[in-house]
């Protein structure tokens, strides 16, 4: 294939060219050689560990774990089938979708890894930059290119940032890892204020977008809400401005202390004002022409994303309305699991990977194949992984929804719970993770079973429940309306509850710790009492998070620690 992409572009994802492919294959060959040298003893474990981490391979509790990058969360049906193939052939028939829109395989053998990376590279996938102190996989909102409220397609800009950051000589050795997220609509669907840099697009003048820029947010050990540096950054200055931010970080970030190395600590240490001054000084002094992002470049990248060719939908909307009327369960699913599309007669569907009592984000190879089939048949062959560990089919005709729902239902993917209390986000925790204090999955399963009743969930309404097995906060517990954090009490597992966190739209907040840690079963009961308190004290139409903010933590704390 030549440098120019073919006429029929894959919908929704960037068309790689020979240069990209050659690079991937070289990286695989290089890693194969490193693995051989490790096995022969030519490389020690200390020498080899950073090399395997650069290729997304971690040693976990029971085996190696491979983290495969899914740039801006978008993949095509063929790639999904390759992931299914890897799960079936090299793992134990499943994979785990993560809050970083990646997939993790938990039972990988070092010996097989070069071959797996080769198989991934054959469909333009890899595990590069999922680890290490570099700019990580840029995340984009899951309704990119589809949402009715979209200002721009964030994947185009995520791709521009990927190209800018990949192998950027200055930024491969940052003080610490660096995460960027971009939302294509004014509604923040990416938790922009909890990223090192978060971008939110807005309509500018002359039909070109402008960006709100948030810097220094993060979860982990020290949760901090990002500060707004700009609210009107023109598109053409996007790269220059981020370059300026990174230069300030690169120059002053703490390399001496891993816990203080993230940009969030620098922003706090310097103060927003001083940090902003330094960024502005850097920005003013730099060669802006060199970093200018011309409209033509944006359009050239956009042209390499295939766009769906929407067919006329006829009476799709009426057909859907009739089907909803006839089937109450289907109606409930449409209500919770669909999102308005910019194209009349279409919608986006969020497929819940959170079955009642199940493991959040785990998907079997058969389910992956089904998702690939559905994407191919109904959604232009394209899929997205969300940061809430679900899967999105972006562009479905409204009159196809019933068939899609039935197929999902039959295969354990039909749960009508998106945004509800059982749509739990959980990290792998102590069942897999070498860093964990406590298991995240069993408590998630107990809560999911406890609240499985569909009417009860609907009654409770929108609620984010997030679970992390340790302070690294991979399950984003601080950002959950209810958060659960696993702690270690003299070698036994225990859990702290946080309340009132939110990653949401314009109202980001960090959850407050309610009190001392409890056992798994005590925690499940405490959460049930917190929910009862909410249901009895809420005003009409008040969401859980709003009641928390109005009442403060006290009544919930009383409920949580009340002994029956």
């Amino acid at each position: 294939m030549s440098h120019s992409p073919s006429a029929a572009l894959p919908v929704g994802h960037y068309a790689y060219d020979d240069v990209d492919r050659t690079f991937l294959k070289q990286r695989v060959a290089q890693f194969k050689d490193q693995v051989e040298r490790r096995l022969s003893g030519a490389l020690t474990e200390e020498e080899f560990k950073p090399l395997r981490l650069m290729n997304g391979l971690y040693l976990q509790l029971h085996a190696y774990m491979l983290r495969v990058a899914i740039p801006y969360g978008v993949l095509d049906a063929k790639q999904m089938r390759v992931l299914a193939h890897i799960a079936r052939t090299y793992d134990r028939d499943y994979g785990h979708f993560t809050t970083r829109q990646n997939i993790q395989f938990n039972w990988i053998r070092l010996e097989d890894t070069p071959e797996i990376l080769n198989v991934l590279a054959d469909t333009d996938m890899h595990a590069i930059q999922t680890s290490g102190n570099c700019i990580r996989n840029v995340t984009a909102d899951q309704f990119a290119g589809a949402a009715a409220d979209e200002v721009l397609d964030p994947r185009v800009y995520a791709e521009i940032l990927r190209q800018w950051s990949t192998l950027h000589p200055e930024f491969t050795f940052l003080p610490r890892k660096f995460k960027i997220a971009i939302s294509g609509s004014q509604q923040d669907r990416v938790a922009a204020r909890f990223h090192d840099i978060g971008l939110i697009a807005r309509e500018g003048e002359n039909g070109r977008p402008v960006f709100e820029v948030f810097v220094g947010g993060g979860l982990g050990r020290t949760p901090i809400i990002g500060v707004r540096l700009r609210d009107d950054l023109p598109e053409e200055d996007l790269i220059a401005y981020l370059e300026a931010v990174l230069r300030v970080y690169n120059a002053h970030g703490r390399r001496d202390n891993i816990y203080k190395a993230r940009i969030k600590i620098l922003v706090q240490a310097l103060g927003t004002e001083e940090f902003l001054n330094q960024v502005n000084a850097e920005f003013a002094a730099m060669d802006r022409a060199r970093y200018r992002l011309p409209e033509a470049t944006v359009e050239a990248i956009r042209a390499r994303f295939g766009a769906p060719d929407f067919a006329p939908v006829g009476n799709a909307a009426e057909k859907l309305a009739a089907q909803r009327k006839a089937d109450r369960a289907f109606d409930a699913w449409v209500h919770t699991n669909t999102h308005p599309h910019k194209q009349p007669g279409y919608c986006s569907v969020t497929v819940s990977c959170k079955p009642a009592g199940g493991i959040p984000g785990d998907v079997t190879s058969a389910q992956m194949d089904l998702l690939a089939d559905l994407a191919e048949r109904y959604s232009f062959g394209e899929l997205r992984i969300t940061h809430l560990q679900n899967v999105v089919l972006g562009h479905l005709r409204q009159d196809a929804l019933y068939d899609v729902w039935q197929a999902l239902e039959k295969n354990g993917l039909g749960e009508a719970n998106v945004g509800f209390i059982t749509d739990i986000v959980a990290c792998p925790g102590l069942d897999y993770c070498a860093l964990a204090n406590a298991r995240s999955i069993p408590i998630a399963q107990k809560l999911s079973s406890r609240f499985a009743n569909a009417d009860l969930q609907r009654e409770i309404g929108p609620l984010r429940l997030n679970i992390s097995g340790c302070i690294n906060a991979c399950g984003h517990h601080h950002a959950g309306h209810i958060g659960i954090l696993g702690v270690d009490k003299r070698g036994e597992e225990a859990f702290q509850i946080t309340l009132g966190g939110s990653a949401g739209d314009g109202d980001a907040s960090i959850g407050q710790i309610l009190g001392s840690a409890m056992s798994e079963d005590e925690t499940v009961d405490a959460i049930a009492r917190i929910i009862d308190t909410y249901l009895s004290r809420r005003t009409a139409g008040e969401r859980f998070i709003e009641t928390c903010r109005r009442l403060g933590t006290a009544p919930f704390k009383d409920a949580a620690y009340a002994t029956a």
Binding site: L59, Q60, R92, E111, V119, L430, G491, E492
Partner: protein
């Protein structure tokens, strides 16, 4: 990693564990000097002798293709050694959320890439 797992009382008993370099799987040092996949086969050391034994294991780590060797305190039960921490109990038994994935679970032979 050793930080949390080297919680050893002066009086207690420990076993020695590692991960295999090739496939990452957990193994336990057995009385015959081989590395076993089941903790039941692990050799018991009085805690006073663990550090010495670890030193010897570490010296052979490359040759035996092992990484992350450390000692795990256990209590002795009818069914064999039981680690004192939940972390090590999970390592010994496999992930609690997949009861079928016991340490002696065997992978089906990898199919060639179609």
């Amino acid at each position: 990693m050793d930080r949390r797992n080297s919680r050893r009382d002066a009086e207690g008993t420990s076993v020695i564990t590692a991960n295999r370099l090739l496939d990452g799987r957990i193994v336990w040092l057995a009385a015959d000097g081989q590395w076993a996949t089941l903790i039941e086969d692990a050799k018991l050391y009085p805690n006073s002798a663990v550090e010495e034994a670890l030193k010897a294991c570490n010296a052979r780590a490359q040759e035996e293709a092992l990484v992350g060797i450390y000692g795990v305190q256990v209590t002795q039960t009818a069914s064999g050694p039981l680690p004192v921490t939940s972390r090590e109990r999970i390592r010994a038994a496999g992930p609690s959320v997949h009861p079928d994935f016991t340490p002696d679970w065997h992978a089906p032979h990898p199919a060639p890439y179609a």
